[in-house]
């Protein structure tokens, strides 16, 4: 084991799968350029050649259909988008073609394709470079939606996604790219559709997605000093959703906060809240609470951007409300900020 970053883990997963299986290829706008999708594709074109790692015209919809066509004919494409917002241009292919192609061929045509997309804030990205919208994909039967938080999960889940015979949307938060952890150098898989307990606790269950797990850890660290113990569940895959661990946890704690990295209305947090209400009704001591984006487009200017995004403070305040605790003094706490990292352009 050695420590590598989330970004390196993504790159290593693709590298090892391309080495293992000549049918795997990687493509997308800017994929082989000198920046390599925030570094995650650097070196692939040099190692595997332009045939297996290539740039494309600015044609998100067609290049998604292109991936589908290649997949049904036996290739294993990985299509990469530097912002998830651009995937909205490919919604016709994703929702009308990719999701239903296997079903429409009575299972005769397999669709082993991965669509990687980066979500999350950077440095004043504004309202067209900052969306999450993963629940939009998760809403459509036929698409799997995976969003790892840790470097180990990034590697293991990406390898699983590449080996999966079904279309997988793979969602990566920009801020997670720098997270480091011990990750095996060998190829390994983590099953798609299995949640994980990231932190054991006994008082309140936090179901957190993607970057919000990092915020939940920060909240847990602060609340520990007040003897409040948070249990953090990372679903890792939101479609298909494995709710077993979260249900088990809420049955134990009686409290549930969904800390999501997206808008609340009709979002993934609403799905979790519904499932917890259905499956833990008698055990709940307080209504499920949800934390997510402000119900507005994401503004560019920093103070409003900070207001738009949820963080550890929102989680701490929600815990206090549920447990009827006095507000914790947070004036001396330092919360995550990437001011030092981001000096522009992104």
């Amino acid at each position: 084991m050695r420590k590598i970053s989330y970004c390196q883990a993504l790159r290593e997963a693709m590298f090892q799968e391309m080495e293992r299986d000549p049918r795997v290829f990687v493509y997308g706008i800017g994929v082989p350029d000198h920046k390599g999708v925030f570094g995650s594709t650097l070196g692939l074109a040099e190692k595997f050649g332009k045939e297996r790692c290539f740039d494309t015209p600015l044609a998100e919809d067609t290049m998604t259909g292109f991936g589908l066509g290649a997949a049904i004919n036996g290739m294993r494409p990985i299509h990469i988008h530097i912002r998830v917002d651009f995937l909205l241009l490919a919604m016709n292919q994703l929702a009308n073609m990719v999701s239903s192609y296997r079903y429409a061929s009575a299972g005769k045509l397999k669709v082993p394709m991965v669509v990687r997309a980066v979500i999350g804030r950077g440095w004043g990205q504004g309202f067209q470079h900052s969306k999450s919208i993963y629940s939009v994909f998760a809403h459509i039967p036929g698409l799997k939606v995976v969003m790892p938080t840790t470097p180990g999960d990034a590697k293991g889940l990406l390898i699983s996604a590449i080996r999966d015979d079904n279309p997988v949307i793979f969602i990566e938060h920009r801020w997670l790219y720098w997270q480091e952890d011990n990750v095996s150098a060998e190829p390994f898989t983590i099953p798609i559709g299995k949640a994980n307990v990231l932190r054991k606790g006994k008082d309140i269950t936090i179901v957190a997605t993607s970057w919000m797990n990092v915020e939940a850890f920060k909240a847990a660290e602060i609340l520990k000093r007040r003897d409040v113990s948070l249990e953090i569940i990372d679903p890792r895959t939101i479609a298909p959703l494995d709710d077993e661990l979260m249900v088990e946890s809420v049955n134990k704690t009686g409290y549930c906060i969904v800390a999501d990295n997206d808008w609340l209305h009709c979002g993934f947090s609403a799905e979790v809240a519904a499932r917890i209400s259905e499956k833990c009704f008698g055990k709940l001591k307080y209504p499920v609470q949800r934390i997510g984006f402000a119900p507005s487009p994401c503004p560019t200017v920093r103070h409003m951007e900070n207001e738009f995004y949820p963080n550890a403070v929102n989680i701490i305040r929600a815990v206090e409300k549920m447990l009827k605790l006095s507000p914790t003094d947070l004036s001396k706490e330092e919360f995550y900020s990437h001011e030092k990292r981001f000096k522009g352009p992104f």
Binding site: D61, M63, G65, G69, I72, N73, A104, A106, K108
Partner: protein, 318 residues
């Protein structure tokens, strides 16, 4: 006597009779699927598909009865799917608009105009990469060339030198809207010609001419390693969706239909066979064999059971 012309005629006749039987039976209300009929375009479907090998691949649209039968000649599965029965490989999940038979190289269709074009380009890319020699033909109408997906796909295919046959079946209408209300240019072929692409066009309803042109298109694709855009005119005999004529609707005239009907592709090919010396009796016998084949396909489809409703949940992932 030319055995090619008899083969072409058999396919034309199969398609025409299958659709005539649909018209005959549709009002029984047992085929509960919106029919987008192929009548009028049979020469294109047969001409192109006959030029393809069995292992070559075809993608279509919601109007794919003709190309499905031309590529597969599988009237049993065709009618089983029209009736939505368990004996169809798709078990009724697709219906008239979503025919699919990958074992015959019929790779699927889209009812979203233009959407299958991108998929076909990717499929052709895979064939090129896998060096399996398979040719992909994708069929679409004149409405599809107004979609972004068409231009994106054309650009990608020309840029990446992908061996694909684009078949534009131009009937002059998108549903009921004539071409002059939709296109801000004079000639689609002139524009496509500016791309790094082979371009061929034809207005004939003679299946032999379209077959020859398709063979030439395939040779061009192979020799230039570039796509070919094949622009073919035809006239849609029936309404956009449904089994009726709609000349009373006012958007097109029966005179125009009559003009095209004089050169109906089935009639034309039959007359050619007579001229070539086939006996009327001989042709009738062959036709009656196809009539029986279709009749039996319908009888079998009607008798067959529906799939268990649990089938709904099957085949999404695997």
């Amino acid at each position: 006597m030319n055995s090619l012309n008899i083969e072409l005629y058999k396919k034309l006749y199969l398609i025409r009779r299958a659709e005539e039987k649909i018209i005959e039976c549709y009002n029984e209300d047992e085929m509960k699927t919106p029919m987008h009929m192929s009548m009028g375009e049979e020469a294109i479907a047969v001409g192109v598909c006959h030029a393809l090998k069995k292992e070559d691949q075809v993608f279509g649209t919601y109007r794919s009865h003709a190309i499905f039968l031309a590529k597969t000649e599988d009237s049993d599965n065709f009618f089983a799917e029209m009736y939505g029965k368990a004996t169809s490989p798709l078990k009724g999940k697709g219906g008239s608009m979503h025919l699919c038979a990958p074992n015959f190289g019929f790779m699927g269709t889209s009812a979203i105009v233009g959407s299958a074009i991108s998929v076909a380009v990717g499929a052709a890319f895979a064939n090129k990469r896998l060096k399996n020699g398979k040719i992909v033909a994708v069929f679409f109408g004149d409405g599809a060339v107004e979609e972004g997906a068409f231009w994106e796909s054309l650009n990608v295919a020309c840029l990446m030198k992908i061996p694909i046959l684009f078949v534009c079946e131009d009937n002059g209408f998108a549903v009921h809207t004539p071409v002059h209300c939709r296109q801000g240019y004079k000639s689609i072929t002139d524009i496509v010609f500016k791309f790094n692409c082979n371009v061929l066009k034809e207005e004939s309803t003679d299946v032999e001419i379209i077959y020859d042109l398709s063979c030439r298109a395939i040779e061009l694709i192979k020799s230039t390693q570039l796509p070919c855009f094949l622009h073919l005119k035809y006239y849609r005999y029936l309404e956009h969706v449904g089994i009726n004529k709609d000349f009373d609707a006012g958007y097109r005239s029966e005179d125009e239909f009559n003009k095209w009907h004089k050169i109906d592709p089935i009639k034309l090919q039959r007359n050619k066979l007579i001229k070539e010396g086939y006996e009327e009796d001989e042709i009738r016998k062959m036709e009656s064999r196809i009539d029986i084949q279709i009749k039996e396909a319908i009888t079998k489809a009607k008798k067959a059971p529906f799939a268990d409703k649990g089938e709904l949940y099957k085949g999404l992932f695997g």
